[in-house]
């Protein structure tokens, strides 16, 4: 069974056992516009909850990606580095950013479920 949670920075994390897969939400891509560049954390690096974990750039501006929880990066998605437009077309499935080995599952408690996030995204506007 996998579970998906969401952060206030508009990242999603799919949890399968010890592994979390992280990406940005559809709502985030709508705010960003056309994504034309992405920089991902290297495999093997440790990232801290709410810390910087890469960059996405649209035609308009650069935006930081934050990791919703701490862990060690196990894999990053080279296909979105080669074709960043994929992030606009399928942000919550194929265009995941990186997978990490979750350090502390308790950190997940601070994240939102889908209903909470949808409400949050709606209220935070565009």
């Amino acid at each position: 069974m996998s579970e998906v949670k969401y952060s206030k920075e508009h990242e999603w994390i799919k949890i399968e056992g010890d592994i979390g897969t992280i990406g940005i939400t559809q709502h985030a891509t709508e705010m960003l516009g056309d994504i034309v560049f992405v920089e991902l954390p290297d495999v093997g690096t440790s990232v801290e909850k709410d810390g910087n974990a890469g960059v996405v750039e649209s035609t308009k501006a650069a935006s930081d990606i934050f990791t919703p929880i701490s862990g060690e990066v196990m894999e990053n998605n080279q296909s979105i580095v080669d074709d960043p437009a994929k992030i606009n077309t399928d942000p919550e499935n194929d265009a995941w950013f990186f997978k990490l080995k979750i350090k502390d599952k308790k950190e997940l408690d601070s994240l939102m479920n889908k209903d909470e996030y949808d409400k949050f995204a709606k209220e935070s506007g565009s």
Binding site: G33, F37, V55, T59, A62, N88, S126
Partner: protein, 368 residues
């Protein structure tokens, strides 16, 4: 101060524009399709740009006015034919640029198109330089609509027969619903196209007609990527009061005779820089790979010394890669010079390149 709206504001909203504040105006940055698609549509079909925030300055007068304007602008205005346009700049005594502009000789004097952020200041400077001797009107009753891209000529000609006979940087008056439109074949995207000066009360109706005929509204976001690919300067980025036309690589816009004889504001500095060379110069910069170098990115040489700064940088949808312009010390301005761009603490390789990034397709030889 209350934000100003153009006559097309309602139409922008109906077309789901995302708005930004630009020079005190609420302007569309993009519509629902997004910057990349809007950019490509302009290059392949026809895009409509609301540029009504720009200033339309009419100055009325005859030969005396022409002579007085030659003391301000580095152009040979005496030889400029009626309905012909020139790109130029308003400069200070040190040849720093207050604004870049398009000046057109019309039957009653001159029409000058000014940048939105500069227009009020320009008006003050020009009226002072002309000692308030001429009637001047920064016309708020007219909108300015640009239509750009290869299909534009047919779309516009179907509404206003005869626009296809205009050649690049020339214009004329046309009648639409019994009112006068001034149309020039010009633009700022690197595409063939037109700029239409139209009374405010007709602007929405006319724009809807362009849309019915196959053109689409395009936001300021794509306008920026289009002009950058075309290697064109944007005031506040490539141009400012501390930059001269020689440094900006715009010497081509100064009439040859005026360059030799001077006699306009800033001419001493211009002639000096032409002889001694400018210390810094505007160049195109092509990052290797996909990395985007934005405005203010520091440029380094291969010895890791700072040699300049990026003034505009984005992703160019038609060249499918990052593009940038900036200023570097003259000795590093040669094409293919290897440089490094510092982005987020890391230095990334790039090359100085020629401009434009995307080849222009202006129509120069249209039949008169």
């Amino acid at each position: 101060m209350e934000i100003k709206k153009t006559s097309l504001n309602k139409l922008h909203q109906e077309n789901k524009a995302k708005f930004v504040e630009f020079a005190g105006y609420q302007m569309p940055i993009q519509y629902s399709k997004g910057i990349v698609e809007e950019h490509k549509f302009t290059r392949s079909h026809s895009g409509i740009f609301d540029v009504s925030h720009m200033g339309q300055l009419f100055i009325y007068g005859d030969d005396e006015l022409t002579e007085d304007l030659e003391k301000i602008f580095p152009l040979n205005l005496k030889n400029l034919e009626t309905n012909s346009s020139k790109y130029s700049f308003l400069m200070n005594n040190e040849a720093g640029i207050y604004d870049d502009l398009i000046i057109t000789k019309i039957d009653t004097g001159f029409l000058i198109i000014l940048n939105a952020a500069c227009k009020d200041n320009d008006f003050k400077i020009i009226s002072k330089l002309l000692n308030n001797r001429y009637e001047m009107n920064l016309d708020e009753n007219r909108s300015l609509i640009a239509i750009q891209g290869p299909r534009s000529v047919n779309i516009l000609d179907a509404i206003l027969n005869g626009v296809n006979k205009l050649s690049f940087m020339s214009g004329n008056w046309f009648i639409y619903k019994e009112q006068k439109l001034f149309i020039t074949r010009s633009g700022y995207t690197g595409e063939d196209g037109f700029e239409i000066s139209i009374p405010n009360d007709l602007a929405e109706d006319f724009t809807k007609k362009l849309i019915e005929n196959g053109a689409q509204l395009i936001g300021l976001g794509a306008r920026d990527t289009l002009r950058l690919e075309a290697g064109l300067c944007l005031y506040g980025h490539e141009l400012g009061e501390d930059i001269t036309p020689i440094e900006a690589n715009l010497a081509w816009a100064i009439s040859k005779e005026r360059m030799e004889n001077g006699g306009f504001i800033g001419s001493d500095k211009i002639i000096n820089q032409l002889n001694d060379g400018a210390k810094q110069i505007r160049v195109g910069i092509k990052p290797e790979g996909r990395l985007i170098a934005r405005e203010k990115t520091k440029i380094f040489n291969t010895d890791e010394l700072i040699i300049g700064e990026v003034t505009s940088g984005t992703f160019g949808p038609s060249v499918s890669g990052p593009v940038a312009m900036g200023y570097v010390k003259k000795e590093f301005s040669k094409k293919d010079t290897k440089v490094f761009l510092e982005v987020r603490g890391k230095k990334h390789p790039a090359n100085i390149c020629g401009l434009p990034f995307y080849k222009k397709s202006y129509v120069k030889g249209a039949t008169k």
